[in-house]
Every structure is written in structure tokens, then in C-alpha cells.
């Protein structure tokens, strides 16, 4: 009996020790993840000589808030911002329209060959962009789209495998009875889609909008290849351009970095639930 108590005491102490170790490891890891951001912020407030100082300076003596104004004035920030938002707006509209319709066709209607075609949709997710990159460029060139926003906008109106998958999984989970009773009342598929299923799908649609926002805001490869006219540049590509000159002004670049990251972080913190659920969902149901 006594031995047992001693044993369980020892066990408790052991598990407490394990817990402390776990926290220690996590806190160190969390620091590794957070400190780079602090480094970016502190870098954006340094003078150039402070940035290049060796050993490094952790925090600038006098924060150079002016860096942010200089950064925005150092390139056509507002033009590039406008371009980015324009592409993003059209992408969000296109993605919502097309993928909700397509996902409905893959989930709420039974038709021959549906599941086979859906497998093709899933397979296209594996396709590296590089495989279609060259022919797409040549196609858009033939169509006269290079030098306009069209290559960045039009494809989003024709479905995206990942979003189709995400929305389909959500639609499948809605009970069948709601469609059945509407059908008895004489509603056709489009009415059921528009009046019943879409309003129910708001959370899933929100996730899709967030991902599209993120994709358009961060996209680098698309604009690099398709937006050859510098008046059409997005922020990402504009920043890369000022980076690639000789001797770029790094403090300003870091200020732009902070400026470009903050909107994403705000959206993330406000809509965190949808981010996490959307990503978790893709792995579980896959």
C-alpha cells in the first residue's frame, strides 16, 4: 500500500517534470517563431547603419518611423496596391461564383459518371503549375492578354480544384431532406442551390474568400510571368523589383514588409476560426 502511494507520488512528480519540460520546449519554439517578426519590425525602424551594425543592434536608438513614409514613396505603392486589390476583387467574385456552382453539381445532384469526373478534379490538384506555365503564357499571348490583368483574373471564373473539394465536402454534409421537400414544392435545382444550399454554406464560402484573399495578396509567380507591364504590377512583384536593384535600401524594404504583413495578420486574427477549420478540413477529409 505504502509502496503504491510512493509509486503514484513518484509518477506524479515524473509527469509534472514532463509537463515542465514540455512547456520549456514549447516556449523556446514559440520564441523561435516570434523573434523573426520582431527582427523585421526592429529592422524597419533602424537607420541603414544600425541595420548593418556588427554586432547587431536589437532595437534602434531612435525609431525611424520616417522609413515607412519613405518606403511608400520609394515606388508606386498606391498604384500597385490598387492593382493587387483589383485582381483580388475579381478573383473573389470568380471563385465564389464558379466553385459554388461546380461543387453543387458534384454533391447535390446524382448523375452518371459524377464520381469518376470528381476524381479527375482531385488529380488536377497534384499538377505542378510549371507544367502548364509555358503553354498558358503562349495561349494568353495568342489571345492578346499579356499586358493586361486578364491572365490573373479569367481562370478564377472556371473553378479551382481545392475550393471545389472544400465546398463539395461541405455540401455533402447537408441533409438530403431539405432538397427533397423543396423539390416537392416544385423548386428546380438552381432555386435549391441559390435559395437553400448557398445560405447554409456561408462558413465554407467565408473560408474560400479568405484563402482567395491570401492567394491574391501573396501571389508571386503569376504576376511575375503574366504581368509584363510595370504599370500592372502587384505589390509582391513591385517589391521584388526594388529588391533586385543594386544596393537596395533594406530598411525601407523591411518597412514595406511590415506594411504588407499587417493586413494579413489582422484578417487572420479576426477570422481565425475559418482559417484553421478550412486547413484542418482539407487534411482530414482528404
Amino acid at each position: 500500500m505504502e509502496a503504491q502511494i510512493a509509486d503514484s507520488k513518484k509518477g506524479k512528480r515524473k509527469s509534472l517534470l514532463a509537463l515542465v519540460c514540455m512547456y520549456a520546449v514549447l516556449i523556446v519554439l514559440a520564441a523561435i517563431y516570434i523573434v523573426p517578426f520582431i527582427w523585421l519590425i526592429s529592422g524597419s525602424l533602424k537607420t541603414s547603419s544600425e541595420l548593418f551594425a556588427n554586432p547587431p543592434i536589437w532595437w534602434p536608438k531612435v525609431p525611424q518611423w520616417k522609413n515607412y513614409i519613405d518606403a511608400i514613396n520609394s515606388f508606386p505603392f498606391f498604384l500597385y496596391l490598387k492593382n493587387t486589390l483589383l485582381i483580388m476583387g475579381f478573383n473573389i467574385i470568380g471563385v465564389l461564383l464558379s466553385n459554388s456552382l461546380i461543387a453543387y453539381g458534384f454533391s447535390r445532384i446524382e448523375w452518371k459518371g459524377r464520381d469518376t469526373i470528381f476524381i479527375i478534379v482531385l488529380i488536377t490538384m497534384m499538377l505542378p503549375f510549371q507544367v502548364v506555365m509555358v503553354p498558358l503564357f503562349l495561349l494568353f499571348q495568342k489571345l492578346g492578354w499579356i499586358g493586361s490583368f486578364l491572365p490573373m483574373i479569367v481562370p478564377s471564373f472556371f473553378g479551382n480544384a481545392f475550393y471545389i473539394f472544400l465546398l463539395r465536402q461541405f455540401f455533402v454534409g447537408r441533409p438530403n431532406e431539405i432538397s427533397q421537400s423543396a423539390k416537392i414544392d416544385g423548386a428546380n435545382e438552381f432555386v435549391i442551390f441559390y435559395k437553400i444550399i448557398l445560405p447554409l454554406a456561408k462558413p465554407a464560402l467565408t473560408t474560400v474568400v479568405i484563402f482567395t484573399f491570401l492567394q491574391s495578396w501573396n501571389d508571386f509567380v503569376g504576376p511575375l510571368i503574366f504581368l509584363t507591364d510595370n504599370r500592372l504590377y502587384t505589390l509582391s512583384i513591385g517589391v521584388q523589383q526594388i529588391m533586385s536593384v543594386n544596393d537596395p535600401r533594406w530598411t525601407l524594404l523591411m518597412a514595406i514588409g511590415v506594411t504588407m504583413t499587417i493586413p494579413v495578420l489582422i484578417i487572420f486574427f479576426v477570422l481565425q476560426k475559418y482559417f484553421i477549420e478550412g486547413i484542418a478540413f482539407s487534411g482530414i477529409k482528404g
Binding site: G105, I109, W111, L136, F157, F158, V264, L265
Partner: protein, 293 residues
């Protein structure tokens, strides 16, 4: 086919018609025409000239750089993907511990890096990895370690990209966590009664239960690595000494720097085959695709 079946087929196809058009125009047509271009010499300005398998032969027999980029990419797949998955899985297992408070805080911390735009990420890591006064080498120097030149060193440039990839692995953590939460608690209780220690439990309960999700993340990571291009394009332009010239970067250079569209298309087709072979053999080796057929 009954009348109702016909109506459903019509409606179904109508609803997915945007995808059908998109698939034909932006996927199938490009893949097919890429196969054709891969057998041509094409510099955009003049018409493509059919040259048969010349591009493929040149790639395999006359282009040493092709093997370099293949090696670099394989290095990233083998070491980069493995490390990323092991680290993110380990972090997820720790985070999933029932006794732990503040899960949502840590989850946010590990997820945030995935939100940073690639260009900004590149700026940030250029500075973290500065050989002279970068944060990484400064921290290393506290432990008496003389840090390497990272992006400036042919030996350490790839490990630098791997560290960067791990730091951006928040997506995997979220997916692992969701999977871990679905493992029935009874399995762990049963293992504990049988006297299994922590490592036994991870090895015999967690890993087998998580197999499909680990596989999903591994495949996603491999596809991402094979396509990875922006970071090396921005940070190193493939250097030093082509040590970070990866497959997709070299493909891009051939297409848009040297205007060798045919050559780049041949590379694209090889990449497609590599992707398919890797994915399918991973799925097969883990027993997928057999039972479902």
C-alpha cells in the same frame, strides 16, 4: 436511362460546366500542347520547329546543369520534406497533450509565418541569415558556434532553405492537430494499461492512426517542394554556384530568360512524370488505390 436520370445528368453537367471549360482550356489543352512544344525548338518570335526528342536527349545527355538542379531538388525532397514533417508532427504531438493550456495561442504562433507573403519572407530570411550580423549566427555565437555563410555558402544554402521551409510549416501542424484530435482516447488508455511508455504510445498508437494524414502532408510537401521557385528566385537566383538552382527555377529560366520554350516544356513533362511517379508510388506503398478500385 429514365427521364429523371437524364434530367439529373443534364443538370449535373450544367452545374459543373465552368469546371469543364476551365479544365479543357487551362489544364488539358496546356498539358497537351506542352507535349507538342517539348518536341520543338521555339523561341516565341519565330514559329516552333519540330525536332522530335532532341530536347529530351539534350537534357539527359548534354546538360550537366539539369542533373545539378535534379540533385538539388531531390535533396530538398529527401531532407527538406522529411525534416519538415518530423518537426511539425513532433510539435503537433506536444501541442495535442491534454494537460497543456494555451493550445490556441501556440497554434497561432506556429501558423503566422505561413501568412507572410513570399517576397517579404525572403527579405526577412536574407537578414536572419546574414553571415556577419544576422540573427541566426548571432544566436549561434552565444554557444560558441561560428555560423556558416548560409545563402552565400554552396554547402549551407540548401539547409538554409530547409530551415525556412520548416518555419513556414504551420499548415502541416494545423492538419496534424486536427488528425490527432480524432484519435480515440481509449486507444491511449489501453496502451497505458499495457504499460506502454510515451514513445511506445507515439510509435504504436499515434503514428499508425495518423498514417493517412501523414501521407497527405508528405505528398503535399513533396508537390510544394517540386514547385518551389519563388524563394530561390528572389533570394539567391539559384546561386551560389547553382547550389540553390532548383528544378522549377531552371525551368523558368529556360522559358522566360533564355526563351527556350521547347526545352522548358520538355522539363515540364519530366516534372509531371516525376510528380506522378512519386505520388502514386507513395500512395500504393501505403495501400491506397487498391481497395478502392
Amino acid at each position: 436511362m429514365t427521364l429523371n436520370e437524364k434530367k439529373n445528368l443534364r443538370n449535373g453537367l450544367l452545374f459543373i460546366s465552368p469546371w469543364i471549360i476551365g479544365f479543357l482550356m487551362f489544364t488539358l489543352y496546356p498539358i497537351a500542347s506542352s507535349l507538342y512544344y517539348s518536341m520543338t525548338e521555339y523561341n516565341i518570335i519565330s514559329e516552333p520547329i519540330f525536332v522530335g526528342l532532341k530536347n529530351y536527349i539534350d537534357l539527359f545527355f548534354h546538360d550537366e546543369l539539369f542533373y545539378t538542379v535534379l540533385y538539388n531538388t531531390l535533396y530538398m525532397v529527401v531532407f527538406g520534406v522529411t525534416l519538415t514533417i518530423v518537426v511539425t508532427l513532433a510539435v503537433s504531438i506536444v501541442l495535442n497533450d491534454k494537460r497543456l493550456r494555451g493550445l490556441s495561442f501556440f497554434r497561432v504562433v506556429f501558423f503566422i509565418p505561413t501568412l507572410v507573403p513570399t517576397v517579404i519572407l525572403s527579405i526577412l530570411w536574407i537578414w536572419l541569415f546574414q553571415p556577419e550580423n544576422g540573427l541566426v549566427n548571432t544566436v549561434l555565437s552565444w554557444f560558441g558556434i561560428n555560423g556558416p555563410g548560409w545563402f552565400a555558402s554552396p554547402t549551407w544554402s540548401k539547409p538554409a532553405f530547409i530551415l525556412m521551409a520548416i518555419w513556414c510549416g504551420g499548415n502541416y501542424i494545423i492538419i496534424f492537430l486536427a488528425g490527432l484530435q480524432d484519435i480515440p482516447a481509449e486507444l491511449y488508455e489501453a496502451a497505458e494499461i499495457d504499460g506502454a511508455n510515451l514513445f511506445d504510445r507515439i510509435w504504436h498508437v499515434t503514428i499508425p492512426q495518423m498514417k493517412p494524414i501523414i501521407l497527405f502532408n508528405v505528398i503535399s510537401a513533396i508537390i510544394k517542394t517540386l514547385q518551389s521557385f519563388a524563394e530561390s528566385f528572389i533570394i539567391t537566383q539559384g546561386g551560389p554556384n547553382n547550389s540553390t538552382n532548383f528544378y522549377s527555377l531552371y525551368l523558368y529560366q529556360n522559358a522566360f530568360l533564355y526563351s527556350k520554350m521547347g526545352y522548358a516544356s520538355a522539363m515540364a513533362w519530366i516534372l509531371l512524370i516525376i510528380t506522378l511517379v512519386l505520388t502514386i508510388s507513395l500512395l500504393r506503398a501505403n495501400g491506397f488505390g487498391k481497395a478502392e478500385q
